[in-house]
């Protein structure tokens, strides 16, 4: 089990500046926002480094064969953060980057929440919150039963884990000692209606996951090296599931939108705002 000292080791007092790749991926997010003239800005921006490290360094997959049997399974349970997933899938060649321009358009494959079977590389249709971890539990049990080494990673939002279903799933994963299952929490501390500590306080969050029998660790969710280091250690315990609490910033990288619930989602995004968003990333 991760100790408090271990947790502290992974949290730096100040987040490192975004490097060119992180900025490039965020610009792709803006491209989708421009295409759809809407989208969950804050919720996608906080996810970028988590998605980047998973797809650049950790997950096993084949873009030309999305249903490859031996792939790792990554479920984005906070489906509203889907643009962060779409840009990674586009970047990796699951579909052409140009498709990002069609976000939320009538005939697009890219909706405001991701759909399995429609978007190559999307494991589960999510958007209604609190579903992904249970699906991940079923997948992890199935994979273990077949003695395969695919890993199952479920990425959740902090507001999402208000849902009781998440804790049903956590109890079940702990009971079955699913060491091939990892829960990742994008803990940006701002949900749709305001700060999580005001809306539904989650603390002590790490203790909660530990109490549900997860080997739990905390990390700066924008520190690429720190994320790599944690994900490369999976599973953190040989006989338990892992929970990685990623301390992130809502709207990360867009200075005027950071930590502000008003930027959870924006519609009617016009050219002027698009220019401002790109400007913030220069």
């Amino acid at each position: 089990m991760a100790t408090s000292a271990e947790a502290v080791k992974f949290i730096k007092p100040t987040a490192p500046p975004l490097d060119e790749r992180s900025k490039y991926l965020r610009k792709l997010v803006v491209r989708a926002l421009e295409g759809g003239e809407r989208g969950h800005i804050g919720s996608s921006m906080s996810l970028i480094e988590i998605m980047r490290v998973l797809y650049d360094d950790i997950l096993r997959y084949r873009p030309s064969e999305p249903a490859w049997h031996d792939r790792d399974r990554m479920i984005l349970s906070k489906g509203h953060g889907c643009i962060a997933l779409y840009v990674m899938l586009a970047d990796k060649g699951f579909f052409p980057v140009d498709i990002l321009d069609t976000f939320c358009r009538r005939d697009s494959i890219l909706g405001g929440h991701p759909e399995a079977g429609k978007v190559p590389g999307v494991e589960a249709s999510t958007g209604a919150l609190g579903h992904g971890l249970s699906i991940g539990v079923g997948m992890a049990l199935a994979v273990r039963m077949q003695k395969r080494d695919s890993r199952v990673i479920v990425v959740m939002g902090d507001g999402e884990i208000d849902e009781g279903s998440v804790w049903e799933a956590a109890m079940c994963a702990g009971k079955h000692r699913l060491s091939n299952l990892t829960a990742v929490i994008d803990y940006n501390k701002v949900q749709s209606a305001g700060p999580t500590h005001e809306i539904q306080d989650l603390e002590p969050l790490a203790d909660k996951w530990r109490a549900f029998n997860f080997a739990t660790i905390e990390v700066d969710g924008h520190d690429v090296e720190a994320l790599r280091s944690v994900f490369r250690r999976l599973p953190l315990a040989p006989d338990r599931p892992t929970a990685i609490i990623c301390h992130t910033v809502k709207g990360k990288g867009i200075g005027f939108a950071e930590n502000d619930a008003n930027w959870h989602h924006k519609s009617k995004i016009n050219k002027e705002l698009v220019a401002k968003l790109y400007g913030a990333l220069e």
Binding site: E123, A124, A142, V143, M145, E168, A169, M171, C172
Partner: protein, 316 residues
């Protein structure tokens, strides 16, 4: 019917490695032989219906066919979003074995009565909704579930229900079974589902004594509805009476009425829908007591048919 259904899960599991059983918290020793013989395919996960459905979706995504089991109300109301999104949106072959459909749990009160289960399950795209009439038919249904590529809601009756189904009439999901045929096509047609078919057949006998000939068509599958058989029997019918152990809003009667209105328009025959009105049952007692309160016993069905037929004749 319940025991037969659960025994069939183990039989199917022996035949097909894709079958897993996932229960919540019902009956100590349930499927103990399956648990003993194939422990990694037998799960009892506690009172976590939302998780039960989600993990079943995960299993199904990996190629398994989960047979889930809990009480009908909890299987439908508690985790409706999981059923809708995890199972139906993904169109996964998960089977929901719903204990105590309809009015089975009469003594336990309205929290345990699955009165609208058929209506709300029927409203979900990709969902198949079944309510067989007896244990023999349950065997036929369960055999057919292995290769059905969609989620299936399997409504269980009380158990020990009289056997009225007949092997020689065949069985296919989505295909209604005419159980009794009137000599004339211009006659009363009773259309029923679940154990109401038993009562419909008994009502048919009573009506025959009164000189009213009635056909009885059994819909073990409410969705997809066998529209061809509905139209075949209804087109020239004097009167169609639907009978169901559930709320009339959105149930079998609604489904049949939809077909008649859409396909026959003003040429549709008169329809009488028997079932539970828009209310939670207020009484306890036995399942039969609630049948009696809602006019679903054979004598009451026969009386309703007689009244409706007479009324129609008077109008004519």
């Amino acid at each position: 019917m319940r025991q037969t259904c659960l025994n069939m899960v183990y039989d199917l599991a022996k035949r097909d490695k894709r079958v897993v059983f996932i229960g919540s918290d019902l009956s100590p020793g349930l499927l103990a032989d399956m648990k003993r013989d194939m422990p990694d395919r037998w799960y009892m996960e506690g009172i976590t219906e939302q998780n039960l459905i989600g993990m079943s979706a995960g299993f199904a995504k990996e190629g398994y066919i989960p047979y889930d089991h809990t009480i009908a109300t909890f299987m439908t109301r508690r985790c409706y979003e999981q059923v809708a999104v995890d199972l139906c949106l993904h169109d996964l072959p998960v089977r929901l074995i719903a204990n105590g459909g309809g009015l089975v749990y009469a003594p336990l009160g309205p929290t345990h009565l699955a009165i609208e289960d058929i209506a709300i399950m029927r409203a979900l795209p990709n969902m198949t909704v079944t309510a067989v009439c007896d244990a023999k038919e349950m065997v036929r249904l369960m055999n057919a579930t292995l290769d059905w590529p969609h989620p299936i809601y399997i409504r269980l009756a009380k158990g020990g229900d009289p056997v009225v189904s007949r092997d020689e009439l065949g069985f296919a999901i989505g295909k209604a079974i005419p159980m009794r045929r009137a000599r004339s096509r211009h006659s009363v047609v009773l259309m029923s589902t679940g154990v109401m078919t038993t009562n419909a057949l008994a009502a048919g006998d009573l009506l025959a004594k009164d000189g009213i000939e009635a056909s009885v068509v059994h819909f073990h599958t409410v969705k997809p509805l066998d529209e061809a058989t509905v139209l075949d029997f209804a087109r020239d019918a004097e009167l169609v009476v639907t009978i169901e152990e559930g709320i009339r809003i959105g149930g079998l009667g609604s489904a049949i009425t939809d077909v008649l209105v859409d396909q026959l328009g003003t040429a549709a025959p008169p329809v009488k829908r028997l079932g539970i009105p828009d209310e939670f049952p207020h009484n306890y007692g036995l399942q039969e007591d609630l049948f009696d309160i809602y006019g679903l016993m054979p004598k009451q069905i026969a009386a309703s048919v007689g009244q409706a037929a007479n009324k129609k004749n008077k109008v004519a």
